[in-house]
Amino acid sequence: MIAFEDVSHDYGGGRLFGDVSIKLEQGSFHFLTGPSGAGKSTFLKLCYGELTPSAGKVLVMNKDLQGLSRNDLAGMRQRIGVVHQDCQFLDHLSVEQNVALPLSATGRSVPDSDVADLLSWVGLASHAEALPPTLSGGERQRAALARAVISAPNMLLADEPTGNLDWDMSQRLMSLMIELNRMGTAILIATHDLQLIRFAKSQINARVLRIARRKLQVAGADL
């Protein structure tokens, strides 16, 4: 799915991480942890081409992201679902329309029932007609997750998708992601919630990546 080859990144200042070589296979499930400011969001942005690495290569579905045209990059993103850390929406469209956007903005048809099912799974059925600015922090995160998975992507990248959610709802979303993973979707979740990682590991074979001291480490079973 996604392969990093000797990737380093810095934002002009100090280096965030260096010499990262890792493969996220199809159908795999990864967590990404590390202290605040370690570079988790940066890692995710490298995965879907919002950033290009300072050094090294990022391959998505066997294509070098740096060689892709803007159009090809857009086509590639249609197969990757992303939950940003700051969930942004089109504020003038309803939650429903926002969730359907990955399909409607790329000319694909939008099955109404799918949108409704998904919204009720994340507990937003009663907010389908609401505008995003009226949502609560947790509701935004849930809507963002729904939007990321509506197009049945091959890969899901989620950046702190449960940061504003209570434990019950976090479990519920995690179950949804586990279900998707069982159906073949590769999943990468950046989170600092160890309880959530433990919950997932109890149900599925997940690996934990950790960014610390400018290195990406694959954590053992020590969690």
């Binding site: 919002e50 857009a74 993103r77 249609q78 003038h92 990955p102 694909r108």
Partner: protein, 291 residues
């Protein structure tokens, strides 16, 4: 595809001040453009009127002893007839001449008894004759003939009309340029203030073409709408300006006349095309800047 087209209309927020800014500035510019156009058209018409009234006529005055006058008149008329650039030459009838002189001499003068010079009215073609050559030929063949082409009256008027028309045309070009610049800037303001819209659309895999189309469509429609309203208002204002009465011939009325009223109808589509070009260029420029 139809879903894609309809969603492209949806993705750009309808409200927002920068959108109204486009409508208003396009409208204002169209309003001013109509006035500048009216000025240009009026100036052109004025120049033409003045040319027609003054530049294409001349007079030949012939003084000669009474026994030679008829012969010389014939010679002069022949010379004029064979000069290229002269449309017609006609002797002014004595009665008409008397009328012209009355202003200076009063009605009581025994004009018939006077050895008055003959006056020949000359109408030039638009190109006009070679005046220097004509003068030489006349002085050779009829020494008593004097060619007067009203130059000292014509030049300043023609120059003034030309200058007025130039000012109007420069204003038109200026207005066009300023309109494009404002619309381009408003487009880029609209795009910049919708950074979130662009980021979200990028995130869900929308192509640049799709994003640009949505913005460009909205911006050029608004510009067209604004220009339409501005033009209509300006035409209304023009129609309301009282026109000069029928007896005014030296300076025609300000505004359009006849088919000229169709000219400003070009402004709204032109504004839309300008807006389309400006916003298209800006959109792709902005899009290349946002990751």
């Amino acid at each position: 595809m139809s879903a894609g087209a309809s969603i492209s209309r949806l993705v750009v927020p309808r409200r927002g001040q920068s959108v109204w800014l486009i409508v208003l500035s396009a409208g204002a510019m169209a309003f001013l453009a109509v006035f500048a156009l009216a000025l240009a058209v009026s100036a052109a018409q004025l120049a033409q009127t003045w040319s027609a009234a003054l530049s294409q006529t001349a007079t030949v005055r012939l003084s000669a002893p009474p026994e030679e006058i008829d012969e010389q008149t014939a010679i002069v008329l022949e010379v004029l007839r064979t000069t290229p650039g002269i449309a017609s030459a006609e002797q002014i009838a004595p009665e008409e001449q008397a009328e012209l002189l009355e202003a200076w001499l009063g009605p009581d003068l025994p004009l018939d008894a006077l050895p008055l010079p003959r006056l020949i009215e000359v109408t030039e073609t638009p190109e006009g004759p070679d005046r220097q050559g004509l003068r030489l030929r006349l002085s050779a063949e009829a020494p008593g003939a004097v060619f007067d082409d009203h130059t000292r009256w014509r030049r300043p008027l023609a120059e003034a009309a030309g200058r007025l028309r130039a000012v109007a045309l420069v204003s038109l070009v200026l207005i066009g340029g300023v309109t494009s610049a404002i619309i381009a800037l408003a487009a880029s303001a609209a795009l910049a203030s919708n950074g979130q819209v662009i980021r979200v659309l990028r995130l869900v895999g929308a192509r640049d073409r799709f994003i640009a189309r949505a913005f460009v469509r909205q911006i050029s429609l608004r510009a067209g709408l604004g220009a339409l309203v501005g033009t209509a208002l300006a035409l209304g204002a023009l129609a309301a300006i009282p026109q000069a009465g029928g007896d005014v011939h030296l300076l025609s009325g300000f505004g359009f006349s006849g088919a000229g009223w169709a000219l400003p109808a070009l402004i709204p589509p032109l504004a839309m095309i300008l807006a389309w070009l400006a916003s298209m260029t800006t959109a792709f420029q902005v899009l290349r800047g946002v990751t």
